[in-house]
């Protein structure tokens, strides 16, 4: 991907070789974003949003994250290197919020504002958190499911896990909305496939074989949704599938009609709002404790519309 960032990287590398070390202009804020990941398309979309805000507000943004979401110590090394650089503000998506608190405290002591993004930090250090309201997003999935199955019947949930914040919120948001608003719909099974496509496929097949009357399944993240779609294909079922997030496979499945539609977070918005909040903090503006970065429902009818195209990724 040859973007401006890549170019900047090459220029910085050149600057390194010529030992120049480009001096940063006075008003040009330097904002360091430390994310939970880097290679995954979701994080690249967050990065794209951050870059967009950087261009708009005329600030410099760096974006880094560990190779995978288990490398808590590598993330701390990135955070301490960012601190040593002396940025004007820091954006941080904690892998383990407890482990990061001493370093975040250092940032606060040095007068560097901290903005949390994607997932919160269990402390009052971050000035705000830019994140998806997962409970509301899953409730919207429940409304769409109810609409598509005609307001009655049995449904199931294939969730990605029972411990992470997003796993809990999406499951509860969906199940609670059904319980509160749709008395004729019954959630007969909630199972966990670790967000793994294959595992979710097997789970889906067993749910479908055990519940022949089933009308629909909600897959709570990208891997779960693809697993549900695969299971549906293998069994030859015609249930309604609602997914979450996006990927090439999920977009294709929606175009083919295997998945009826999906909720997408707004990763671009998460990146954009994080940088925007950092700039606002640097200008001394007060921030709301949580910035809801929004979510959308997309299906075959609006998948190619500009507003959906801007937030989904392949």
């Amino acid at each position: 991907m040859f973007t401006r960032r890549t170019l900047l990287g090459a220029i910085s590398a050149l600057a390194l070789l010529t030992s120049g070390g480009a001096a940063i202009a006075q008003e040009n804020y330097d904002i360091a974003l430390i994310s939970k990941g880097f290679q995954h398309q979701f994080w690249q979309a967050v990065k794209a949003g951050a870059d967009k805000a950087a261009a708009e507000f005329g600030v410099t943004v760096t974006f880094e994250g560990p190779d995978n979401e288990t490398q808590v110590d590598r993330q701390l090394d990135m955070l301490s290197a960012a601190l040593a650089r002396g940025p004007d503000a820091i954006g941080f998506a904690a892998l383990d919020s407890q482990a990061a608190i001493p370093l975040l405290q250092q940032a606060t002591d040095a007068g560097i504002p901290v903005i949390a993004f994607d997932s919160g930090v269990e402390s009052d250090i971050p000035l705000t958190t830019a994140t998806t309201d997962n409970i509301a997003a899953a409730a919207m999935a429940a409304d769409k499911m109810a609409e598509l199955i005609g307001g009655e019947g049995q449904i199931a949930v294939v969730a990605h896990d029972q411990t992470s914040r997003t796993g809990i919120d999406r499951r509860d948001g969906f199940v609670n909305r059904i319980a509160e608003q749709y008395p004729n719909i019954e959630v007969v099974s909630v199972q966990y496939g670790a967000g793994d496509q294959l595992q979710s496929t097997e789970i889906t097949k067993s749910i479908l074989l055990a519940n022949p009357e089933l009308k629909g399944i909600f897959g709570t993240n990208e891997g779960s949704a693809i697993g549900v779609a695969n299971g549906k294909r293998e069994v030859g079922s015609d249930i309604v599938v609602i997914g979450f997030d996006s990927s090439k496979a999920q977009l294709d499945a929606i175009r083919e009609g295997v998945i009826s539609g999906a909720i997408t977070q707004n990763p671009v918005g998460i990146g954009y709002e994080t940088v925007k909040a950092a700039v606002a903090a640097l200008k001394g503006e007060t921030l709301e404790p949580v910035i809801d970065t929004g979510f959308y429902y997309y299906d075959a009818t609006n998948i190619d519309s500009p507003e959906i195209k801007a937030v989904v990724y392949e």
């Binding site: 090459a10 330097d30 288990t70 808590v72 701390l76 301490s80 001493p102």
Partner: protein, 335 residues
């Protein structure tokens, strides 16, 4: 630190290896210095005390792992399980301290014993069952990864109920004496491990056999030495060193993170190789490995401080590894 020694070699050859070992370390050390000078010139933030301490802190876990890997690699073997074994040891510490509520020293001892035991198992599988080290430790890597997840119930184990646990890596005994230089304990532990293992390699029978196994295992066997026993001992020692790394990372994160660890073995092996230890065995030093681990950390930190995009950081690190080994090959051709 002690010199490389090759007990199998004749005096003349021995002297040659001694000088070449020193030469390589000098080379690696100059490489480290060049990197530091370049980064210092490029950014005034690089050579700040706090940042240098952060670099050392970032080196401590990988450094200890790399020292363990050095032991095994000198015998001509390889240990792919160091990353997940580190996590396993951290989880064992979590079980002892958080689940069972036992006192701190027992947690530390338990983690190190778990490492030793696992190392002895790997060593036995390799020496007695004749499974190649690559396969044996690949298997152990997966077994330990799975066991960590099973034992912890796939959730991090926090050490909040063990006050002082995070001081093992994060506290600073040096800082109490020299307030201006609060070197974290984790870094001092790394140096301590380096000194002890250097001593073992240079001055003990175990050290001599470690090199001998890597130079010519068959010759050692034919001279009537119980090769299997020494090999198992080397893997056991490496395992206990990994146990120390497990304590360090758990202390730094104040938690045992059960999913962490896979991939860390590659950074450890990279540090060993940059430090001039030959993957074919028989040659290597702890000091070289330490310098190798520092080069990796300095590079990562410096490129981050210069705001180099992460994609390019990875490219540069890869190029440095190849360059380091190529320089080593050039040097050996000249011998």
């Amino acid at each position: 630190m002690t010199e490389t020694a090759s007990p199998a070699g004749k005096p003349g050859l021995l002297a040659g290896i001694r000088t070449s070992g020193a030469y390589h370390r000098l080379l690696a050390f100059s490489g480290l210095l060049v990197l530091m000078v370049v980064f210092s010139l490029a950014s005034p933030n690089f050579l700040q005390t706090a940042n240098v301490l952060a670099i050392l802190q970032a080196t401590s876990v990988n450094g200890v792992l790399a020292i363990a890997a050095t032991l095994v690699i000198i015998t001509g073997g390889i240990d792919l399980s160091v990353g997940t074994l580190m996590t396993f040891c951290a989880v064992i510490a979590g079980v002892i301290l958080t689940f069972l509520g036992l006192p701190l020293p027992l947690g530390v001892i338990g983690a190190i014993l778990a490492g030793t035991l696992s190392g002895l198992i790997s060593g036995t599988v390799i020496a007695k069952l004749k499974v190649p080290p690559f396969i044996a430790t690949l298997g152990m890597m997966l077994i330990l990864k799975g066991l960590s997840l099973v034992i912890s119930g796939t959730r991090p184990i926090y050490f909040n109920d063990t006050p002082g646990f995070n001081q093992i890596a994060l506290g600073s005994v040096v800082g109490q004496v020299l307030p201006a230089l609060p070197v974290p304990n984790g870094v001092m532990i790394l140096f301590l491990v380096a000194i002890v293992i250097s001593f073992v390699l240079g001055k003990t029978a175990l050290g001599r056999y470690t090199f001998a196994l890597g130079s010519n295992e068959e010759a050692v066997r034919l001279s009537g030495v119980n090769v299997d026993r020494w090999k198992i001992a080397v893997y056991g020692l490496a395992g206990s060193v990994v146990g120390i790394a497990g304590i360090l990372i758990a202390s730094r994160l104040n938690s045992a993170q059960p999913a962490l660890g896979q991939g860390y073995e590659l950074d450890a092996i990279a540090a060993v190789v940059i430090g001039g230890t030959s993957l074919s065995g028989g040659r290597g030093t702890v000091l070289g490995t330490l310098i190798g681990a520092l080069i990796i950390s300095v590079l990562a930190n410096g490129l981050r401080i210069l705001s180099v995009a992460q994609e390019w950081q990875t490219v540069v690190t890869g190029a440095i590894i190849i360059l380091a080994v190529y320089v080593d090959i050039l040097r050996r051709r000249k011998l």
